[in-house]
Amino acid sequence: MKILVAVKRVVDYNIKVRIKPDGSDVDIAGVKMSVNPFDENAIEEALRIKEQGKATEVIVVSFGSTANHDVLRHALAMGADRAILVESDEKLQSLGVAKLLKAVVLREQANLILLGKQSVDDDAGQMGQMLAALLDYPQATFASSIKLDGNEAIVTREVDGGTETLALDLPAVITADLRLNEPRFVKLPNLMMARKKPIETLSASELGLDIQPRLTLLKVNEPPARKPGIKVNSVEELVSKLRAHEGIQL
Protein backbone atom coordinates (compact mmCIF):
# COMPACT_ATOMS: atom_id res chain seq x y z
CA MET A 1 0.00 0.00 0.00
CA LYS A 2 1.25 3.44 -0.91
CA ILE A 3 0.66 6.56 1.17
CA LEU A 4 0.86 9.96 -0.48
CA VAL A 5 1.44 13.05 1.67
CA ALA A 6 1.24 16.60 0.33
CA VAL A 7 3.46 19.20 1.99
CA LYS A 8 3.13 22.96 1.75
CA ARG A 9 5.94 25.44 2.25
CA VAL A 10 4.69 28.23 4.51
CA VAL A 11 6.04 31.09 6.58
CA ASP A 12 7.22 29.56 9.83
CA TYR A 13 4.38 29.69 12.35
CA ASN A 14 6.52 31.58 14.87
CA ILE A 15 7.01 34.50 12.47
CA LYS A 16 4.67 37.48 12.51
CA VAL A 17 4.33 38.42 8.85
CA ARG A 18 4.68 41.98 7.60
CA ILE A 19 2.55 43.60 4.94
CA LYS A 20 4.24 45.20 1.92
CA PRO A 21 4.13 49.02 2.03
CA ASP A 22 1.75 49.12 -0.97
CA GLY A 23 -0.63 46.67 0.73
CA SER A 24 -0.56 44.31 -2.25
CA ASP A 25 0.47 41.22 -0.29
CA VAL A 26 2.47 40.04 2.68
CA ASP A 27 6.21 40.49 2.44
CA ILE A 28 7.83 37.07 2.71
CA ALA A 29 11.21 37.97 1.18
CA GLY A 30 13.93 36.60 3.42
CA VAL A 31 11.43 35.24 5.95
CA LYS A 32 12.01 31.80 7.48
CA MET A 33 9.91 29.17 5.69
CA SER A 34 8.96 25.76 7.07
CA VAL A 35 6.81 22.73 6.45
CA ASN A 36 3.19 23.56 7.31
CA PRO A 37 2.84 22.18 10.89
CA PHE A 38 -0.25 20.08 10.15
CA ASP A 39 1.53 18.55 7.14
CA GLU A 40 4.31 17.43 9.49
CA ASN A 41 1.67 15.53 11.48
CA ALA A 42 0.54 13.93 8.22
CA ILE A 43 4.10 12.88 7.31
CA GLU A 44 4.66 11.50 10.81
CA GLU A 45 1.47 9.45 10.68
CA ALA A 46 2.36 8.04 7.26
CA LEU A 47 5.77 7.00 8.56
CA ARG A 48 4.27 5.35 11.64
CA ILE A 49 1.83 3.38 9.47
CA LYS A 50 4.73 2.21 7.32
CA GLU A 51 6.78 1.32 10.40
CA GLN A 52 3.87 -0.85 11.59
CA GLY A 53 4.26 -2.79 8.34
CA LYS A 54 0.93 -1.57 6.99
CA ALA A 55 2.33 0.46 4.10
CA THR A 56 5.11 -0.16 1.62
CA GLU A 57 5.98 3.35 0.55
CA VAL A 58 5.55 6.95 1.70
CA ILE A 59 5.65 9.48 -1.13
CA VAL A 60 5.67 13.23 -0.49
CA VAL A 61 4.58 15.82 -3.02
CA SER A 62 4.69 19.60 -3.06
CA PHE A 63 3.41 22.21 -5.50
CA GLY A 64 5.09 25.40 -6.63
CA SER A 65 8.65 26.45 -7.41
CA THR A 66 11.96 24.70 -6.78
CA ALA A 67 12.09 26.64 -3.49
CA ASN A 68 9.86 23.80 -2.24
CA HIS A 69 12.85 21.45 -2.40
CA ASP A 70 13.62 22.35 1.23
CA VAL A 71 10.29 21.13 2.60
CA LEU A 72 10.48 17.98 0.47
CA ARG A 73 13.98 17.32 1.79
CA HIS A 74 12.70 17.83 5.32
CA ALA A 75 10.08 15.14 4.64
CA LEU A 76 12.73 12.84 3.15
CA ALA A 77 14.90 13.43 6.23
CA MET A 78 11.95 12.44 8.44
CA GLY A 79 11.88 9.15 6.52
CA ALA A 80 9.73 9.52 3.40
CA ASP A 81 10.83 7.25 0.56
CA ARG A 82 10.35 9.51 -2.44
CA ALA A 83 9.60 13.13 -3.26
CA ILE A 84 7.85 14.77 -6.18
CA LEU A 85 7.69 18.47 -7.02
CA VAL A 86 4.87 19.59 -9.28
CA GLU A 87 6.31 22.77 -10.69
CA SER A 88 4.04 25.72 -11.38
CA ASP A 89 4.39 29.49 -11.69
CA GLU A 90 0.65 29.97 -11.10
CA LYS A 91 -0.61 31.45 -7.82
CA LEU A 92 -1.97 28.13 -6.64
CA GLN A 93 -5.21 28.03 -4.64
CA SER A 94 -6.95 25.15 -2.87
CA LEU A 95 -9.09 24.02 -5.81
CA GLY A 96 -6.17 24.14 -8.26
CA VAL A 97 -3.91 22.20 -5.90
CA ALA A 98 -6.66 19.63 -5.34
CA LYS A 99 -6.82 19.08 -9.12
CA LEU A 100 -3.05 18.70 -9.44
CA LEU A 101 -2.91 16.40 -6.43
CA LYS A 102 -5.67 14.24 -7.89
CA ALA A 103 -3.48 13.71 -10.98
CA VAL A 104 -0.56 12.64 -8.75
CA VAL A 105 -2.78 10.29 -6.69
CA LEU A 106 -3.93 8.54 -9.86
CA ARG A 107 -0.41 8.42 -11.31
CA GLU A 108 0.98 6.89 -8.10
CA GLN A 109 -2.07 4.70 -7.39
CA ALA A 110 -1.90 5.77 -3.74
CA ASN A 111 -4.40 4.07 -1.40
CA LEU A 112 -4.19 6.58 1.40
CA ILE A 113 -3.72 10.31 1.02
CA LEU A 114 -2.70 12.05 4.23
CA LEU A 115 -2.78 15.84 4.41
CA GLY A 116 -2.66 18.57 7.03
CA LYS A 117 -6.12 19.85 8.02
CA GLN A 118 -5.21 23.41 7.01
CA SER A 119 -2.21 25.51 6.17
CA VAL A 120 -1.18 28.20 8.62
CA ASP A 121 -0.80 30.89 5.93
CA ASP A 122 -4.22 30.88 4.23
CA ASP A 123 -6.04 29.17 7.11
CA ALA A 124 -8.60 27.94 4.58
CA GLY A 125 -8.73 24.20 5.39
CA GLN A 126 -10.27 23.11 2.11
CA MET A 127 -7.84 21.12 0.03
CA GLY A 128 -8.32 17.63 1.51
CA GLN A 129 -12.10 17.79 1.22
CA MET A 130 -11.81 19.10 -2.35
CA LEU A 131 -9.43 16.31 -3.28
CA ALA A 132 -11.73 13.67 -1.79
CA ALA A 133 -14.64 15.07 -3.80
CA LEU A 134 -12.68 15.16 -7.08
CA LEU A 135 -11.62 11.55 -6.57
CA ASP A 136 -15.02 10.52 -5.18
CA TYR A 137 -13.16 9.07 -2.18
CA PRO A 138 -14.27 8.86 1.44
CA GLN A 139 -12.92 11.65 3.63
CA ALA A 140 -12.11 12.13 7.29
CA THR A 141 -11.00 15.61 8.33
CA PHE A 142 -9.36 16.83 11.59
CA ALA A 143 -8.13 13.33 12.48
CA SER A 144 -6.79 12.75 15.99
CA SER A 145 -6.45 8.97 15.61
CA ILE A 146 -6.08 6.65 12.61
CA LYS A 147 -6.18 2.86 12.79
CA LEU A 148 -5.80 0.77 9.65
CA ASP A 149 -7.52 -2.57 9.54
CA GLY A 150 -7.21 -4.30 6.19
CA ASN A 151 -8.98 -2.19 3.62
CA GLU A 152 -10.59 0.00 6.25
CA ALA A 153 -9.39 3.06 8.16
CA ILE A 154 -11.01 3.81 11.52
CA VAL A 155 -10.58 7.51 12.10
CA THR A 156 -11.48 9.62 15.12
CA ARG A 157 -12.13 13.25 14.22
CA GLU A 158 -12.05 16.30 16.43
CA VAL A 159 -15.31 18.18 16.01
CA ASP A 160 -16.89 21.05 17.94
CA GLY A 161 -17.86 19.77 21.36
CA GLY A 162 -16.43 16.26 21.08
CA THR A 163 -15.21 13.60 18.69
CA GLU A 164 -16.67 11.51 15.90
CA THR A 165 -15.39 8.14 14.73
CA LEU A 166 -15.79 7.03 11.11
CA ALA A 167 -14.91 3.88 9.17
CA LEU A 168 -13.59 4.59 5.68
CA ASP A 169 -13.02 2.16 2.83
CA LEU A 170 -9.64 2.73 1.19
CA PRO A 171 -8.65 4.52 -0.94
CA ALA A 172 -9.47 7.54 1.18
CA VAL A 173 -8.34 11.05 2.09
CA ILE A 174 -7.58 11.89 5.73
CA THR A 175 -6.52 15.29 7.09
CA ALA A 176 -4.45 15.54 10.25
CA ASP A 177 -5.10 17.59 13.35
CA LEU A 178 -2.25 18.56 15.68
CA ARG A 179 -3.23 15.98 18.27
CA LEU A 180 -2.74 13.09 15.82
CA ASN A 181 0.90 12.67 16.85
CA GLU A 182 4.11 14.38 17.83
CA PRO A 183 6.28 14.69 14.70
CA ARG A 184 9.76 13.28 15.08
CA PHE A 185 12.83 15.43 15.36
CA VAL A 186 14.95 15.44 12.22
CA LYS A 187 18.56 14.44 12.90
CA LEU A 188 21.33 16.25 11.08
CA PRO A 189 22.80 13.12 9.42
CA ASN A 190 19.36 12.32 8.01
CA LEU A 191 19.10 15.84 6.65
CA MET A 192 22.52 15.45 5.00
CA MET A 193 21.46 12.15 3.46
CA ALA A 194 18.18 13.63 2.27
CA ARG A 195 20.13 16.22 0.32
CA LYS A 196 21.46 13.48 -1.92
CA LYS A 197 18.09 11.91 -2.66
CA PRO A 198 16.64 12.85 -6.05
CA ILE A 199 13.44 14.88 -6.28
CA GLU A 200 11.30 14.03 -9.26
CA THR A 201 9.84 17.03 -11.05
CA LEU A 202 6.53 17.15 -12.93
CA SER A 203 5.26 20.14 -14.82
CA ALA A 204 1.83 21.39 -13.75
CA SER A 205 1.12 22.88 -17.18
CA GLU A 206 1.71 19.51 -18.85
CA LEU A 207 -1.07 18.00 -16.73
CA GLY A 208 -3.52 20.16 -18.69
CA LEU A 209 -5.77 21.17 -15.78
CA ASP A 210 -7.59 24.43 -15.06
CA ILE A 211 -5.61 25.72 -12.11
CA GLN A 212 -6.20 29.43 -12.68
CA PRO A 213 -6.84 31.30 -9.43
CA ARG A 214 -10.53 31.98 -8.81
CA LEU A 215 -9.98 34.40 -5.96
CA THR A 216 -8.19 37.65 -6.71
CA LEU A 217 -6.28 39.26 -3.87
CA LEU A 218 -7.21 42.96 -3.98
CA LYS A 219 -5.52 44.20 -0.85
CA VAL A 220 -3.94 43.11 2.40
CA ASN A 221 -4.81 45.10 5.51
CA GLU A 222 -3.68 45.14 9.10
CA PRO A 223 -6.51 43.82 11.26
CA PRO A 224 -8.22 46.63 13.17
CA ALA A 225 -6.38 47.08 16.44
CA ARG A 226 -8.22 46.86 19.72
CA LYS A 227 -8.48 50.12 21.61
CA PRO A 228 -5.57 50.34 24.04
CA GLY A 229 -6.55 49.17 27.48
CA ILE A 230 -5.52 50.24 30.92
CA LYS A 231 -3.74 48.59 33.80
CA VAL A 232 -5.63 48.26 37.04
CA ASN A 233 -3.91 47.92 40.39
CA SER A 234 -6.23 45.69 42.34
CA VAL A 235 -9.06 43.21 42.13
CA GLU A 236 -11.39 45.82 43.64
CA GLU A 237 -10.51 48.35 40.94
CA LEU A 238 -10.96 45.71 38.23
CA VAL A 239 -14.39 44.71 39.48
CA SER A 240 -15.59 48.31 39.80
CA LYS A 241 -14.38 49.09 36.25
CA LEU A 242 -16.18 46.03 34.89
CA ARG A 243 -19.36 46.87 36.78
CA ALA A 244 -19.38 50.28 35.11
CA HIS A 245 -19.98 48.59 31.74
CA GLU A 246 -23.55 48.36 30.64
CA GLY A 247 -24.79 44.79 30.55
CA ILE A 248 -22.02 43.37 32.69
CA GLN A 249 -23.27 41.94 35.95
CA LEU A 250 -20.67 40.80 38.40
Binding site: D121, D123, D160, L166, T216, L218, E222, P223
Partner: protein, 312 residues
Protein backbone atom coordinates in the same frame (compact mmCIF):
# COMPACT_ATOMS: atom_id res chain seq x y z
CA UNK B 1 -31.51 33.61 -8.06
CA UNK B 2 -31.61 32.47 -4.48
CA UNK B 3 -29.36 31.95 -1.48
CA UNK B 4 -28.99 28.59 0.27
CA UNK B 5 -27.87 28.26 3.88
CA UNK B 6 -26.61 24.93 5.14
CA UNK B 7 -28.14 24.96 8.63
CA UNK B 8 -26.05 23.14 11.20
CA UNK B 9 -27.55 21.06 13.98
CA UNK B 10 -26.31 18.33 16.31
CA UNK B 11 -29.30 16.02 15.95
CA UNK B 12 -31.03 17.67 18.92
CA UNK B 13 -30.80 21.42 18.43
CA UNK B 14 -30.26 23.93 15.68
CA UNK B 15 -26.94 25.78 15.98
CA UNK B 16 -27.52 29.37 17.15
CA UNK B 17 -25.04 30.52 14.47
CA UNK B 18 -27.68 29.76 11.80
CA UNK B 19 -29.37 33.02 12.82
CA UNK B 20 -26.15 34.89 12.10
CA UNK B 21 -25.80 33.12 8.77
CA UNK B 22 -29.29 34.38 7.85
CA UNK B 23 -28.20 37.97 8.54
CA UNK B 24 -25.11 37.44 6.38
CA UNK B 25 -27.23 35.95 3.58
CA UNK B 26 -29.51 38.98 3.55
CA UNK B 27 -26.65 40.91 1.94
CA UNK B 28 -27.66 39.42 -1.45
CA UNK B 29 -31.29 40.54 -1.11
CA UNK B 30 -32.49 37.30 -2.63
CA UNK B 31 -34.87 34.67 -1.25
CA UNK B 32 -33.13 32.63 1.45
CA UNK B 33 -33.67 28.89 1.83
CA UNK B 34 -32.42 26.98 4.87
CA UNK B 35 -31.31 23.41 4.21
CA UNK B 36 -31.52 20.95 7.08
CA UNK B 37 -29.97 17.53 6.53
CA UNK B 38 -31.45 15.05 9.01
CA UNK B 39 -32.64 16.51 12.31
CA UNK B 40 -35.81 16.41 14.34
CA UNK B 41 -39.00 18.44 14.84
CA UNK B 42 -37.42 20.81 17.41
CA UNK B 43 -34.71 21.72 14.92
CA UNK B 44 -37.21 22.27 12.11
CA UNK B 45 -39.49 24.43 14.24
CA UNK B 46 -36.58 26.58 15.38
CA UNK B 47 -35.40 26.98 11.78
CA UNK B 48 -38.91 27.90 10.65
CA UNK B 49 -39.08 30.60 13.33
CA UNK B 50 -36.08 32.58 12.03
CA UNK B 51 -37.15 35.88 10.45
CA UNK B 52 -36.05 36.53 6.89
CA UNK B 53 -36.13 32.95 5.62
CA UNK B 54 -38.25 32.06 2.57
CA UNK B 55 -38.33 28.29 2.91
CA UNK B 56 -36.97 25.60 5.20
CA UNK B 57 -35.93 22.59 3.16
CA UNK B 58 -35.77 19.37 5.11
CA UNK B 59 -34.00 16.37 3.64
CA UNK B 60 -34.60 13.25 5.64
CA UNK B 61 -33.26 9.76 5.15
CA UNK B 62 -31.95 7.03 7.45
CA UNK B 63 -28.38 7.79 6.39
CA UNK B 64 -28.71 11.43 7.45
CA UNK B 65 -29.16 10.50 11.12
CA UNK B 66 -25.43 11.13 11.48
CA UNK B 67 -24.76 13.24 8.40
CA UNK B 68 -21.49 12.58 6.60
CA UNK B 69 -19.73 15.23 4.52
CA UNK B 70 -20.03 12.97 1.48
CA UNK B 71 -23.83 12.72 1.78
CA UNK B 72 -24.52 16.34 2.69
CA UNK B 73 -22.25 17.58 -0.12
CA UNK B 74 -24.12 15.40 -2.62
CA UNK B 75 -27.41 16.74 -1.28
CA UNK B 76 -26.31 20.36 -1.70
CA UNK B 77 -24.98 19.69 -5.19
CA UNK B 78 -28.35 18.16 -6.15
CA UNK B 79 -29.99 21.50 -5.27
CA UNK B 80 -27.20 23.86 -6.35
CA UNK B 81 -28.60 24.81 -9.76
CA UNK B 82 -31.19 27.07 -8.13
CA UNK B 83 -28.72 29.01 -6.04
CA UNK B 84 -26.25 31.78 -6.72
CA UNK B 85 -24.96 31.80 -3.14
CA UNK B 86 -24.36 28.85 -0.81
CA UNK B 87 -23.19 29.63 2.69
CA UNK B 88 -22.96 28.41 6.27
CA UNK B 89 -21.63 29.60 9.60
CA UNK B 90 -17.97 28.59 9.97
CA UNK B 91 -17.64 25.50 12.18
CA UNK B 92 -16.20 22.00 12.08
CA UNK B 93 -19.50 20.92 10.47
CA UNK B 94 -19.45 23.35 7.55
CA UNK B 95 -15.67 23.21 7.11
CA UNK B 96 -16.01 19.49 6.57
CA UNK B 97 -18.78 19.71 3.98
CA UNK B 98 -18.58 22.89 1.91
CA UNK B 99 -15.10 22.47 0.37
CA UNK B 100 -16.38 19.18 -1.00
CA UNK B 101 -19.29 21.06 -2.56
CA UNK B 102 -16.83 23.56 -4.05
CA UNK B 103 -14.85 20.86 -5.81
CA UNK B 104 -18.00 19.18 -7.15
CA UNK B 105 -19.28 22.50 -8.51
CA UNK B 106 -15.80 23.60 -9.63
CA UNK B 107 -15.95 26.82 -7.61
CA UNK B 108 -13.56 28.24 -5.05
CA UNK B 109 -14.69 28.57 -1.46
CA UNK B 110 -14.22 31.54 0.84
CA UNK B 111 -13.58 30.27 4.36
CA UNK B 112 -14.62 32.25 7.42
CA UNK B 113 -15.53 35.54 5.71
CA UNK B 114 -15.32 38.50 8.10
CA UNK B 115 -17.18 40.90 5.79
CA UNK B 116 -19.25 40.64 2.63
CA UNK B 117 -19.15 43.48 0.09
CA UNK B 118 -20.62 44.16 -3.33
CA UNK B 119 -19.14 42.52 -6.46
CA UNK B 120 -18.28 39.29 -4.65
CA UNK B 121 -15.65 40.92 -2.46
CA UNK B 122 -14.90 39.53 0.98
CA UNK B 123 -12.50 40.09 3.83
CA UNK B 124 -10.97 37.11 5.54
CA UNK B 125 -8.17 36.71 8.01
CA UNK B 126 -4.95 34.88 7.19
CA UNK B 127 -1.76 34.08 9.08
CA UNK B 128 -3.62 33.39 12.32
CA UNK B 129 -5.45 36.68 12.12
CA UNK B 130 -2.32 38.78 11.63
CA UNK B 131 -3.49 40.09 8.27
CA UNK B 132 -6.84 40.62 6.64
CA UNK B 133 -7.05 39.76 2.95
CA UNK B 134 -9.57 41.52 0.72
CA UNK B 135 -10.43 39.04 -2.03
CA UNK B 136 -12.77 38.95 -4.99
CA UNK B 137 -14.30 35.78 -6.35
CA UNK B 138 -14.69 35.32 -10.12
CA UNK B 139 -16.89 32.25 -9.79
CA UNK B 140 -20.55 32.22 -10.79
CA UNK B 141 -21.65 30.53 -7.60
CA UNK B 142 -20.52 32.11 -4.36
CA UNK B 143 -19.61 29.50 -1.77
CA UNK B 144 -18.57 30.62 1.69
CA UNK B 145 -18.56 30.19 5.42
CA UNK B 146 -19.02 33.27 7.56
CA UNK B 147 -17.34 34.36 10.78
CA UNK B 148 -20.54 34.30 12.84
CA UNK B 149 -19.50 36.73 15.55
CA UNK B 150 -19.21 39.49 12.92
CA UNK B 151 -22.91 39.22 12.06
CA UNK B 152 -25.93 39.98 14.24
CA UNK B 153 -28.37 37.14 14.88
CA UNK B 154 -31.61 37.28 12.88
CA UNK B 155 -34.59 37.49 15.20
CA UNK B 156 -37.14 34.73 15.79
CA UNK B 157 -40.93 34.73 15.61
CA UNK B 158 -41.61 33.71 12.00
CA UNK B 159 -43.42 30.57 10.91
CA UNK B 160 -41.86 29.69 7.60
CA UNK B 161 -43.04 26.92 5.30
CA UNK B 162 -41.18 23.61 5.67
CA UNK B 163 -40.66 21.56 2.52
CA UNK B 164 -39.60 17.92 2.63
CA UNK B 165 -37.32 16.56 -0.06
CA UNK B 166 -35.62 13.24 -0.74
CA UNK B 167 -31.88 12.91 -0.27
CA UNK B 168 -29.58 11.35 -2.88
CA UNK B 169 -28.55 7.73 -2.22
CA UNK B 170 -26.12 7.13 0.64
CA UNK B 171 -22.37 7.22 0.09
CA UNK B 172 -21.65 3.79 1.50
CA UNK B 173 -17.85 3.81 1.55
CA UNK B 174 -17.80 5.95 4.70
CA UNK B 175 -19.67 4.73 7.76
CA UNK B 176 -20.45 6.55 10.97
CA UNK B 177 -19.24 4.52 13.96
CA UNK B 178 -19.67 6.57 17.12
CA UNK B 179 -19.35 9.97 18.72
CA UNK B 180 -18.41 11.38 22.10
CA UNK B 181 -19.69 14.59 23.64
CA UNK B 182 -17.72 16.49 26.17
CA UNK B 183 -20.33 16.65 28.85
CA UNK B 184 -20.17 19.73 30.94
CA UNK B 185 -22.45 21.54 33.34
CA UNK B 186 -20.96 24.77 32.03
CA UNK B 187 -22.36 26.72 29.08
CA UNK B 188 -21.04 25.89 25.61
CA UNK B 189 -17.77 27.68 24.97
CA UNK B 190 -18.68 29.06 21.56
CA UNK B 191 -21.88 30.76 22.75
CA UNK B 192 -21.11 31.66 26.40
CA UNK B 193 -21.53 35.28 27.52
CA UNK B 194 -18.49 35.02 29.79
CA UNK B 195 -15.40 32.92 29.07
CA UNK B 196 -12.57 32.28 31.51
CA UNK B 197 -9.42 30.96 29.86
CA UNK B 198 -6.34 29.62 31.57
CA UNK B 199 -2.80 29.35 30.25
CA UNK B 200 0.30 27.41 31.09
CA UNK B 201 0.96 29.52 34.20
CA UNK B 202 -1.73 27.50 35.98
CA UNK B 203 0.94 24.81 36.27
CA UNK B 204 -1.15 21.64 36.49
CA UNK B 205 -4.52 20.15 35.64
CA UNK B 206 -5.41 20.22 39.35
CA UNK B 207 -4.59 23.92 39.71
CA UNK B 208 -6.40 24.72 36.46
CA UNK B 209 -9.58 23.25 37.91
CA UNK B 210 -9.03 24.47 41.47
CA UNK B 211 -8.33 28.10 40.54
CA UNK B 212 -10.68 28.66 37.60
CA UNK B 213 -13.70 26.47 38.37
CA UNK B 214 -15.07 28.44 41.35
CA UNK B 215 -14.97 31.69 39.35
CA UNK B 216 -16.59 30.02 36.34
CA UNK B 217 -19.29 28.54 38.56
CA UNK B 218 -20.04 31.88 40.20
CA UNK B 219 -20.25 33.77 36.92
CA UNK B 220 -21.96 31.03 34.93
CA UNK B 221 -19.00 31.19 32.58
CA UNK B 222 -17.49 28.70 30.15
CA UNK B 223 -13.91 27.58 30.64
CA UNK B 224 -11.33 27.94 27.88
CA UNK B 225 -7.63 27.17 27.60
CA UNK B 226 -4.61 28.06 25.52
CA UNK B 227 -2.95 25.54 23.27
CA UNK B 228 0.03 25.50 25.63
CA UNK B 229 -2.25 24.55 28.53
CA UNK B 230 -3.94 21.87 26.45
CA UNK B 231 -0.65 20.46 25.19
CA UNK B 232 0.62 20.33 28.77
CA UNK B 233 -2.45 18.27 29.69
CA UNK B 234 -4.02 20.86 32.02
CA UNK B 235 -7.26 21.08 30.04
CA UNK B 236 -9.13 18.99 27.46
CA UNK B 237 -8.56 19.73 23.81
CA UNK B 238 -12.12 20.77 22.99
CA UNK B 239 -11.90 23.89 25.18
CA UNK B 240 -8.85 25.23 23.37
CA UNK B 241 -9.40 28.80 22.25
CA UNK B 242 -7.40 29.89 19.21
CA UNK B 243 -6.50 29.41 15.59
CA UNK B 244 -6.49 25.65 15.87
CA UNK B 245 -9.30 25.51 18.40
CA UNK B 246 -12.55 27.35 19.07
CA UNK B 247 -13.08 31.00 18.15
CA UNK B 248 -15.09 32.87 20.80
CA UNK B 249 -16.51 36.37 21.06
CA UNK B 250 -18.17 36.68 24.48
CA UNK B 251 -19.26 39.84 26.29
CA UNK B 252 -16.47 39.33 28.80
CA UNK B 253 -13.28 37.32 28.40
CA UNK B 254 -10.82 36.57 31.20
CA UNK B 255 -7.32 35.55 30.11
CA UNK B 256 -5.68 34.15 33.23
CA UNK B 257 -2.02 33.22 33.16
CA UNK B 258 -2.16 33.53 29.37
CA UNK B 259 0.89 34.93 27.57
CA UNK B 260 -1.04 36.02 24.48
CA UNK B 261 0.47 34.12 21.55
CA UNK B 262 -1.11 35.08 18.20
CA UNK B 263 -2.37 31.51 18.00
CA UNK B 264 -4.53 32.25 21.05
CA UNK B 265 -5.49 35.89 20.46
CA UNK B 266 -6.88 34.87 17.04
CA UNK B 267 -9.57 32.97 18.90
CA UNK B 268 -10.61 35.68 21.39
CA UNK B 269 -9.82 39.14 20.06
CA UNK B 270 -13.42 39.75 19.00
CA UNK B 271 -14.52 39.57 22.64
CA UNK B 272 -16.25 42.73 23.81
CA UNK B 273 -14.27 43.22 27.02
CA UNK B 274 -10.99 41.44 27.68
CA UNK B 275 -9.43 41.15 31.13
CA UNK B 276 -5.88 39.84 31.44
CA UNK B 277 -4.27 38.68 34.65
CA UNK B 278 -0.60 37.82 34.34
CA UNK B 279 2.49 38.20 36.46
CA UNK B 280 4.63 39.29 33.49
CA UNK B 281 3.97 42.97 32.75
CA UNK B 282 5.39 42.51 29.24
CA UNK B 283 3.10 39.62 28.29
CA UNK B 284 1.60 40.34 24.83
CA UNK B 285 -1.88 39.54 26.16
CA UNK B 286 -1.94 43.01 27.75
CA UNK B 287 -1.89 44.53 24.24
CA UNK B 288 -5.34 43.10 23.51
CA UNK B 289 -6.75 43.54 27.02
CA UNK B 290 -9.08 46.34 28.06
CA UNK B 291 -8.13 45.80 31.68
CA UNK B 292 -4.80 44.34 32.70
CA UNK B 293 -3.86 43.28 36.20
CA UNK B 294 -0.19 42.47 36.74
CA UNK B 295 -0.34 40.08 39.66
CA UNK B 296 0.10 36.52 40.84
CA UNK B 297 -2.98 34.73 39.54
CA UNK B 298 -3.01 32.27 42.45
CA UNK B 299 -3.47 35.21 44.77
CA UNK B 300 -5.90 37.41 42.83
CA UNK B 301 -8.22 34.89 41.18
CA UNK B 302 -9.58 33.62 44.53
CA UNK B 303 -9.95 37.27 45.58
CA UNK B 304 -11.83 38.03 42.38
CA UNK B 305 -14.02 34.99 42.97
CA UNK B 306 -14.88 36.26 46.45
CA UNK B 307 -15.53 39.78 45.16
CA UNK B 308 -18.08 38.97 42.44
CA UNK B 309 -21.70 38.15 43.15
CA UNK B 310 -22.96 34.70 42.45
CA UNK B 311 -25.26 34.24 39.46
CA UNK B 312 -27.07 31.38 41.15
Amino acid sequence: MKTLILAEHNGKELSPAVQQAVTAAQFWQAPIDLLIAGGNETILQKAASIQGVTRVIHANAAHLAHPLAEDVANLIVSLANDYQVILAAHSSYSRNILPRVGALLDVAMISDALTIQANNIYTRSCYAGNVHNVIQSIDKTQLLTIHSSNFAAATLGASTEIINIDAPAAFTRTRWVSETHNLSHRPALSSAKIVISGGRSLGSAEKFEEVLSPLAAKLGAALGATRAAVDAGYAPNDIQVGQTGVVVAPELYFAIGVSGAVQHTYGMKDSKIVVAINQDPDAPIFQVADYGLVADLFEVVPKLTAEVNSRN
